[in-house]
């Protein structure tokens, strides 16, 4: 057994896991707060990456302003999407937003395909980025940024949910919608905040992965599936659980790809999802309901 090889692939798994974390945290936050699964979440992630590409390559904006503009744009889009596509149909039934976000996802995905074409693009050649080496292990600096962002986001979100007023209001809404309304929580504002936060996190994920690899309009699709795996295994709405599971799934996927058949690694992960969902719909951290 080659331990360096194993360790190296665990490292790659951790990088992937951090990207999944940025994606899945928003998905699970929105589900926790408003019981809605956002099927367009992958497209928000994609828009982050594609917008940065567009700003840097075609409009000549430098890196930091481009990233900030893309994040703000996707956040603003998140606000519009929440008000227009989710809040309008949520009163009908908690299931209808599934349809409306699925349709929205199709619009954004194919719209992006029509505007940018479906080809993958490179924002900055990741191969040129410096690589840190220590004790036989290699860590690309782009990957390191993803990991650090992932950890900071998790800690930040934890503090936000525990220490701030809005965080408390969010947790109150998660626990009991009617109760939260009764004690004066403006749940409409909580919904807005949760959705904008989710959109921003998705965009950050898309941008960082875009710098580390490539951006393309279809990049959100496989993430959506992995996001579901993480959200469900952690228990829907469990933000911190999602962060832990994201790392585990990232590592498992990376090891499956190296030690079994790389082509079937995603299929194996998804099969795990189906089994997890059937065995424990409440998630591994969730308490048994009913």
């Amino acid at each position: 057994m080659d331990w360096t090889f194993l360790g190296q692939n665990v490292l790659y798994g951790v990088i992937n896991g951090s990207a999944y974390l940025l994606f899945a945290i928003g998905l699970t936050l929105v589900f926790g707060v408003m019981r809605v699964i956002n099927f367009a979440h992958g497209e928000l992630y994609m828009l982050g990456g594609m917008l940065v590409f567009e700003l840097i390559k075609n409009l000549g904006v430098s890196v930091i302003p481009a990233v900030l503009i893309a994040i703000l744009a996707v956040g603003a889009l998140g606000f519009v999407v929440n008000r227009l596509v989710i809040q309008t149909v949520l009163p009908v039934s908690p299931l209808v937003p599934l349809l409306s976000t699925l349709a929205l996802g199709m619009v954004i995905l194919n719209g992006a395909g029509a505007v940018w074409s479906m080809d993958p693009r490179i924002i900055k050649p990741a191969a040129l980025a410096p690589v840190l080496r220590a004790g036989g292990f290699a860590m690309p600096s782009t990957g390191l940024i993803i990991i650090i962002t992932g950890i900071l986001v998790t800690i930040g979100l934890y503090l936000f949910l525990r220490r701030t007023s809005m965080g408390n209001q969010m947790r109150a809404t998660v626990q009991n919608l009617t109760g939260a309304k009764l004690v004066g929580v403006n749940t409409r504002r909580v919904y807005d905040y949760a959705f904008i936060l989710a959109a921003v996190l998705a965009a950050v994920g898309g941008i960082l992965v875009g710098f580390a690899r490539v951006v393309l309009p279809a990049m959100g699709q496989p993430m959506l599936m992995l996001g579901f795996v993480i959200v469900i295994v952690a228990g829907m709405g469990n933000v911190i659980g999602a962060a832990i599971i994201a790392f585990i799934i990232g590592i498992i996927e990376s090891l499956l790809a190296v030690y079994t058949w790389p082509t079937y690694a995603p299929a194996m992960i998804y099969t795990g999802l189906v089994i997890a969902l059937l065995a424990r719909p409440q998630g591994v951290f969730g308490a048994k309901r009913e």
Partner: protein
């Protein structure tokens, strides 16, 4: 009123039979066949969406599995002596799939969970059919599926195939209407309205839901078998999300919970989509926007409105 209904049915039937004589262009006749096959597909999804009140985002799976069963039996292995046998096998595999998935999932999961789990199953199958290329033919799929025959007819043109598909569409409508009036269909609607109440009155919701799910999958399989024999070359693209989104568009846009809705939806989707003078990406964008607007402003779809208008016009006509 009842007589007027029959008149409307006769007019519709005559139109359906005359359609390939009106649309003489081969391209339009092909669209006509796709429209009929997609109608069956949309009606089958509507069993889940309207009567069970659930979402399946993996309904392309039984459709694709039936098409691939036909592909394997009739073209790749060529083991079945009669084409109709592989045709039926396609439906059988789809029904078995529905039974297996339904009995595994429907005991515990409803709503959002069911939507995600069916979505996941669709994605898994899509991955497998694309990647296990030594078995499934990979992206190239399976070609040279032979034609269906009946004594005296070979269904090798859109013209003849249209009538075959139309026959199966009528059969599908009959099955769904019969099922809706049967104890099982009524039970499913009772469960949709209030599952706990239905259970407490002695309706075993799990069994009825599994049966309804199996019926929906079998009908999607019927569409899949027809589809395979019509286009004679199938690819794993059948398992992509595009197909299930297409079905959802048809059902939601047309109007759930009716027979006419999904059919109108598939007519508009099939004809309008192919005839719009823009690229495929933009067509899907346009349709996505239409569906969004429908979901937000016309949650019951366009069919109820259309029906109301037609009835008003009809009354004026018969005065």
């Amino acid at each position: 009123m009842l007589q007027r209904r029959y008149v409307a049915l006769i007019v519709l039937g005559a139109l359906a039979i005359a359609a390939p004589f009106i649309l003489t262009n081969v391209f339009l006749r092909r669209l006509l066949v796709f429209f009929v096959i997609y109608s069956i597909l949309a009606l089958s999804l509507d069993i889940i969406m309207a009567y069970m009140g659930q979402y399946s985002f993996g309904h392309q799976a039984p459709f694709g599995l039936a098409a691939y069963t036909v592909g394997f039996l009739a073209a790749r292995w060529r083991v079945v002596p009669y084409q109709w046998l592989s045709f039926g096998a396609g439906i059988g595999v789809a029904a078995l799939f529905g039974l297996a998935v339904g009995s595994l999932t429907l005991r515990w999961t409803r709503g959002v969970y069911l939507a995600i789990i069916t979505y996941g199953i669709g994605v898994i199958l899509c991955q497998l059919f694309f990647k296990a290329s030594h078995f499934t033919g990979g992206e190239r799929g399976i070609a040279y599926i032979p034609f269906l025959t009946l004594p005296g007819v070979t269904f090798d043109t859109p013209f003849s195939f249209y009538y075959l598909a139309l026959g199966f569409l009528v059969l599908t409508i009959y099955i769904i209407m019969r099922w809706l009036r049967s104890p099982s269909g009524r039970a499913v609607i009772a469960i949709r309205e209030n599952e706990a109440l239905a259970n407490s009155t002695g309706i075993y919701s799990y069994r009825h839901y599994v049966m309804a799910f199996t019926l929906a999958s079998a009908l999607a399989g019927l569409a899949g078998s027809l589809f395979a024999y019509f286009i004679t070359h199938i690819t794993p693209a059948l398992f992509t999300l595009d197909y299930v989104v297409m079905m959802i568009i048809m059902v939601v846009f047309g109007g759930t919970g009716t027979i006419g809705g999904p059919i109108i939806g598939s007519a508009i989707y099939t004809f309008l989509l192919r005839l719009l003078p823009v690229g495929m990406d933009m067509r899907l964008v346009i349709f996505g926007v239409i569906v969004l607007v429908t979901i937000i402003f016309l949650p019951r779809g366009i069919y109820p409105r259309l029906e109301a208008v037609l009835i008003r016009r009809g009354r004026a006509l018969f005065k």
